[in-house]
């Protein structure tokens, strides 16, 4: 049996969650104050997921804020960044627009979170 401690990143409460493991098997998860905390720890144990927020180079050359529509594997953050950095839009970026449909083969799209300034 071993114990692993986590700080949940799902909301600002930052619950401190303890997972007790028997080999690969989860024996218990305690300390979370909501269900999302449990899901978070289960993910951390298998494939930690993170939402990526960054910028792309806009049509004008100035940065435009973007995010992944959902969390992607933490291990793929830098691969995703390389793809984001190489992206060049064909026209000014609009708020909510999907810029890359499948970022770094995660199946998760990259969407704009701001309008490109005229």
């Amino acid at each position: 049996m071993k114990e692993k401690r986590y700080t949940c990143i799902i909301c600002p409460s930052g619950c401190e969650i303890t997972a007790v493991l028997d080999g690969e098997k989860i024996v218990s998860i305690t300390g979370n104050t909501c269900k999302r905390g449990e899901a978070y720890v289960k993910n951390e144990l298998t494939c930690p997921m993170r939402t990526l927020t960054t910028t792309v180079r806009g049509f004008s050359g100035r940065p435009v804020a973007v995010r992944t529509a959902d969390a992607i594997p933490k291990a793929k953050l830098f691969e995703a960044m390389a793809e984001v950095n190489a992206f060049r839009p064909a026209r000014p970026v609009r708020f909510g627009e999907t810029l890359i449909a499948d970022l770094a083969a995660t199946g998760v799209p990259l969407i704009a979170t701001a309008n490109e300034e005229a």
Binding site: T55, V56, R57, G61, P63, N85, A86, R88
Partner: protein, 476 residues
């Protein structure tokens, strides 16, 4: 070939350039740094001393008193802030003799008026001065000025009159070619019939390049604290303490721009570029300030070190280092105050030697203040904005500097090329947030106005980049 090459773009060199620019002579200023006023002229107390401090008969005494008289009119003409706030030297029990001696010395130097105040009168003038102070020397003629604004404005007027400026030109060799001197910086050189050495900390090395090995300069570091405008009215006069065996003490003074300045420490060092501040030094400044003004607030917005160029004679060194080379060396305090008089001396010398002759008829001698909008009434502001909307957009929120003023500074002599250059001209980034908000905007304006890439904008010249290229790579 130039008639005159001025080595050093500090306050003395710039005021010399301004004085010479009224004549038909061709003049170029050679400055080692990427902007003017980068040495002691950019980092000192900004005090226009009344002149009671210097030893009677010394050059310091003579030029101080003369310079202090010239300063108000000069500043008015150059659009530089000067405030005649007066100064106090406060004494504690036992200091009566020292205060009396300063009074006598001031009288001998020709400083008028001077007055010795008792404790009650002192308290009446400056309620925040230490209750333990029992006596003070009051010099109503003393003032405060912004030293780098003065330098920039003087050189600006000089350049408007045709004086040329070379930046990043660190003089490393002087060759006497008979009819002229050839002044080198690496491979680059200029020829000049007459040299004026105003090289500050390096005046000794420049003199030596022309064969004069008599001058020796020691850098004396002085650490300062600059406090928020909110504290600018803690005292209204410049407050010194009576000199003791321990030295001159720490002054507390409003600045011409309305902040409060505390300092300087005084420490002889070896490295002419070592402008570090130290924990001990800054603590000493605060402790020293508390001696005369116990309730001095601690709202520090920045700290800095100025290096004073101390000569080896105990006085200013003003001499001919070569047949056609005038050297100003060891222009430490009261150097700023003396600068207008030193420039006048240089002008007269060069007239006597026939280098300066005919006065120009059309010379410019006035300049608009670089930062002026914040000082205007609502109606005046409105009129400026109606003429040019750029004066309506505030870029630096702390000092209320507008886009129009920054743009003008980028088009005016001497053109700033750095973030610090803008800061020293219009005070954008000089306020309580220290450029946190306006720096990126000012960097963008420098880039656009001067047509240089954003990543080439520096803090103060080569080696001080602010950014390292675009985050997403260059355009494809």
């Amino acid at each position: 070939m130039y008639d005159i090459l001025i080595i050093g773009g500090g306050v003395v060199g710039s005021l010399c350039a301004e004085a010479f620019s009224g004549y038909g002579a061709s003049v170029r200023v050679l400055e080692a740094q990427s902007d003017v006023a980068m040495g002691a002229s950019g980092a000192n107390s900004g005090i226009v001393h009344a002149g009671f401090d210097a030893k009677p008969g010394s050059l310091k005494a003579r030029f101080n008193v003369e310079g202090a008289c010239l300063m108000p009119a000069l500043c008015a003409r150059l659009g530089v802030k000067y405030v005649n706030n007066g100064s106090l030297v406060v004494g504690f029990p036992g200091d009566e003799g020292a205060i009396r001696a300063l009074y006598e010395r001031g009288k001998e130097n020709g400083v008028a008026p001077l007055e010795i105040l008792d404790a009650a009168r002192l308290r009446e003038l400056e309620p925040n001065v230490s209750p333990e102070a029992t006596v003070a020397l009051y010099a109503p003629s003393a003032g405060i000025v912004c030293p780098y604004s003065l330098t920039v404005a003087a050189l600006g007027v000089a350049m408007d009159n045709g004086v040329k400026l070379s930046l990043d030109f660190r003089v490393d060799r002087i060759e006497d070619r008979g009819d002229c001197y050839r002044v080198f910086s690496g491979e680059r050189f200029f020829d000049g019939r007459y040299l004026v050495n105003c090289a500050g900390l390096y005046a000794d090395e420049v003199a030596a390049m022309a064969g004069d090995n008599s001058v020796k300069i020691t850098p004396r570091s002085g650490e300062y604290l600059l406090l928020d405008r909110r504290c600018g009215k803690t005292v209204s006069r410049t407050v010194f303490v009576a000199p003791t065996k321990m030295g001159k003490g720490i002054l507390v003074s409003p600045t011409a721009d309305g902040n409060l300045i505390l300092g300087p420490t005084s420490l002889d060092i070896e490295d002419k570029e070592d402008k570090r501040t130290t924990g001990e030094g800054l603590a000493r400044v605060l402790d020293g300030a508390k001696r005369s003004v116990p309730g001095v607030p601690s709202a520090v917005i920045t700290s800095f070190t100025g290096l004073r160029a101390v000569g080896n004679t105990g006085d200013f060194i003003i001499k001919k280092s070569a047949p056609r080379m005038l050297t100003f060396a060891g222009i430490e305090s009261p150097g700023l105050t003396s600068a207008p008089a030193l420039a006048g001396y240089a002008e007269k010398t060069l007239c006597d030697e026939g280098i300066l002759a005919e006065k120009k008829q059309d010379a410019v001698s006035f300049r608009r203040p670089a930062r002026f909008m914040a000082e205007l009434s609502a109606a005046e502001k409105d009129a400026w904005i109606k003429k040019d909307p750029a004066y309506g957009r505030i870029v630096c929120r702390c000092e209320e500097v507008t886009e129009g003023e920054i743009r003008d500074a980028l088009r005016e002599n001497p053109v700033p090329r750095t973030l610090d250059g803008i800061k020293r001209r219009v005070r954008a980034g000089m306020g309580r947030c220290q450029g946190g908000f306006c720096s990126p905007v000012v960097m963008r304006m420098i880039s656009d106005e001067l047509g240089i890439p954003f990543s080439d904008v520096t803090k103060r010249g080569p080696g001080s980049p602010l950014t390292f290229g675009k985050t997403k790579g260059e355009d494809r």
